[in-house]
Each structure stands twice: as structure tokens, then as C-alpha cells.
Symmetry: C2
DNA sequence: ATTTAATTTTAGACAAATCTAAAATTTAAA
DNA sequence: TTTAAATTTTAGATTTGTCTAAAATTAAAT
């Protein structure tokens, strides 16, 4: 019922990876966790042993229900703490990730519930990602990536899916943040880069990689 | 510059023990940390290696200046988080210790400073213990233990020095808490137990051990 | 001053998490 | 369909923190 910080980080990373592809590979997880494939294999055996993971050697792996449940609780804590750091301690949304990476491992269940209440039961974290409730449920907001947004359709930035410090720095520089209203003016098929127009600013260009990780919500 | 949670717990415990006696013994530290003397010796070698400790085998040990500095920062974090849990998350002062024992190891220096500001720079934690400032200084409030309080002198409870859950439970049962006004009616030399009078309540008896750990402030 | 007891340290082991280098397996190319 | 490349796993080592049992040292009793 109590797992090490490292195990929790593995579960969380697997959860995120398998949301995008059905099954996860050793290399992808090692890359995501900045560790070595051999170390991942070691951990996979332990997680399987603890019945959190469906895994057979050489065949990929994915979380079972129990593993998902645990992962969602870590994600819940991560996002609640991020919200606390931004809304209560006045941190910028681009500087809270590392701290939340530690805070998410604080174990008290009661603390999480009190924190949630103290924050007024927020539904999304400072990056626009939904916060699971205490049962692990969350309303997945129908948002799409900037890469999928049709041309000349105004939309509002509602989330950033891979928030590395480098990525957030870049976005800040381009004046793109949560709530920013923008539209896609051109797509360049050569490298899938996009020209973006934000009201009152000259157009800026962003790469395909960035576009895939900026989530927007349709103006309705 | 960054120490493991276990090292930090050792430094903190040594700090507390050496405040009461000048020099600390292996057995006392093992007892305080619920570990084995052999494990303590192992850790002492590492702390000496890292120049946080003055230690020679068989001769006791104590923190040097650097060790004290580190210990005081952990104590600062512990007490700020306790204050947060009680004042913001509505926990009782007798249920926050375990959580703070984890939170005190969160590393971000900036987080601590922001938390301090958010809380309004409190001077004491929910148990009446002073909170060191960011330089490790704190105004030691001139409080004395209940065992030292003269007979029939009304005083106010201002702190609990050893706050185990068991101890706090006992105090709650005897209706003794922070801010309680009381006086000592009798001392029994046989076992150094005390008869205590709290306004509106019948007298209660407390042991010498409890008396030594309840701190009071003179009514002036 | 010996003997006994308590304290402290060492020796050796173990679990957890990680790594490198080499072997096994799968996938992609020729 | 062989061969080559990429992926994944094993074998064996390392670090950190802990433990038990035995030895060394210090303190307390006869
Ligand atoms: Mn983490
Ligand atoms: Mn986030
Ligand atoms: Mn602690
Ligand atoms: Mn306290």
C-alpha cells in the first residue's frame, strides 16, 4: 500500500506513456525517466511482482487496474501541489514542476484531501491538466493539440502536455500561456511548422514538436 | 549541499539531544531515532566524513557549525509545515508531527521562503517551539518546564518539548494544551509527580516525565 | 585491582535502486 | 531468408542505509 518514490515515478511515467500509445516500451520509459533501460527492466520485475503491471519479457508492458489507481493518486497529488504553489505561494507556472515532483510523494491521504478542500477543489492544474478526484476519476476536457487545430480558427490555450522547463521557457518567450487566444495562419508541410497569430502581436513560428504539445480548447 | 532524508533526521536528532546535554551518545541517538546503535555508528562516520560532526570513536559526538546550520534549516522547515497544517489545513496540533517529518525533507529553499511569507512569518509552531529564521537564528523564548515552576504560581503552557503522539494524547486527556493556564499545587518527592490545578477543573496528577516536557511561560 | 556489566564499534550480511557490459531476442534490411 | 541492427534482458558490480552477532573499549561493582 506504500511505494517508494522511485516506484511511484515509474508508475506515473508508464501511465502517461500508455495514454498515448496502448503499450509501453522499455526504451521509451527509460528516456522519460532519464534512466537506463537495464534499470527499467529491474523495476518492471518488481512492479509485476507487486501486481501493479502486466508484463512479459520482450513484449512490452502496461499498468493493470491497481497500477492505474496508484498512478492516478500520484498525479492527483502532483497537480494539487502545483496548484497550491502557483495560487497560494505565487510561483510562476513554469517553475513548479520540480517541487511538485517531490511533494507528490508525501504519503498522508488525509493531507491530500485537506489540501484539495483548502484549494477549493480545483479541476485543473496550472498547466491546464485535469486533477483526478479522490477516486481517480477526472473529466477529460475535450481539448485538441495546436497541430490539429484548423486554419484561421480562434482557440484558447488550455494545456501543455509535456511541460519541461525548456519547453515552458520557449512558450513564455513566444508569449504563449494558459488562456492565450490564438489562431493558426499557415502550415508548412516541409517541417510541419506553424505560423501562429496572437492578437496584438506579430505572427510567430513554432515547431511541430511544440505544436503537438500545446493543447487548445475551441471557442464555442 | 544536499543530504538524504535519513542524514537530515540524524542531524536534527543530534541537534535536539545536544541542546539538553552537551555531548551525545550512540545509544541515546539510536533510541531517539528508533534504530540500532550499530546503524548510528555507521551514520556517524558518514557525517564526520562530510564534515558536519565532531566525532571520535568511543568518545561521544556533537555537531560542528555546519552541522548545526543544516539541522536548523530542517527544524525551520518542520515547524513551518506544522504551522501550515494547523493554521491552513485545519489539522489538530497533535496530528501534524508525522506529516511534517516527511515535508521537512522537501528541498527547495525558495519554497520554504515563500511558505514562510504566505504564513505571515510565524514565530512559533503549533507546539510553541520557536521557528528559526532563514539564517537559522531564533529568539529563544524564556520558558521553563513545569517541573521547575514554583508552587502556586499561575503560568501558561507555551510549549511541549517532546511531542510523541502518546504524550500529546495524554495531555489532551488531562485537558492540558497550548495556552492552558495552570498552577502546581503539590510536589510529591517520592516520584516527583505533581498535582496540577487548572481553573474550573478538579486537580489532576502528572508524572515527572510529563512535567519535564511541558513548558510554561510566567504570567508577568 | 579484578571482575562484571554496559556501551560502542567492527565484521559481515542484506535489500533497494542504480549502473556497465555482455548476451538474448526481436525487428528491419539486404 | 540470411544478415545486420535495434531493443531488451541478464550477469555482475556499486552505493546507501540498515541489521545481527561478535569483538573492543569504557564504566561500574565487587
Ligand atoms: Mn516524483
Ligand atoms: Mn502540471
Ligand atoms: Mn524527517
Ligand atoms: Mn512541533
Amino acid at each position: 500500500m506504500k511505494y517508494s518514490a522511485s516506484k511511484e515515478d515509474h508508475l506515473k511515467a508508464i501511465f502517461h506513456l500508455q495514454s498515448e500509445q496502448g503499450v509501453v516500451t522499455t526504451n521509451a520509459l527509460a528516456e522519460a525517466l532519464q534512466t537506463r533501460p537495464a534499470s527499467v527492466t529491474d523495476m518492471l520485475k518488481k512492479l509485476k511482482e507487486q501486481k501493479l503491471l502486466l508484463y512479459e519479457r520482450y513484449k512490452g508492458f502496461r499498468l493493470n487496474n491497481e497500477g492505474k489507481k496508484v498512478a492516478l493518486q500520484i498525479i492527483r497529488k502532483h497537480r494539487l501541489w502545483e496548484y497550491f504553489l502557483v495560487k497560494k505561494l505565487q510561483f510562476g507556472w513554469d517553475e513548479v514542476h520540480e517541487m511538485a515532483e517531490e511533494l507528490e510523494h508525501i504519503s498522508s491521504k488525509k493531507l491530500v484531501e485537506r489540501l484539495d478542500a483548502f484549494l477549493g477543489f480545483p479541476e485543473t492544474d496550472p498547466h491546464g491538466d485535469p486533477i483526478p478526484d479522490s477516486q481517480g476519476r477526472f473529466t477529460s476536457p475535450r481539448q485538441l493539440s495546436l497541430a490539429q487545430l484548423p486554419l484561421n480558427k480562434v482557440a484558447e490555450v488550455s494545456g501543455i502536455s509535456r511541460q519541461t522547463t525548456e519547453m515552458l521557457e520557449l512558450l513564455q518567450h513566444k508569449k504563449i500561456g494558459l488562456g492565450t487566444k490564438l489562431e493558426v495562419r499557415r502550415k508548412f508541410p516541409f517541417d510541419n511548422s506553424l505560423e501562429i497569430k496572437i492578437r496584438n502581436y506579430p505572427p510567430v513560428t513554432i515547431s511541430s514538436l511544440v505544436a503537438k504539445n500545446v493543447l487548445v480548447k475551441d471557442e464555442e
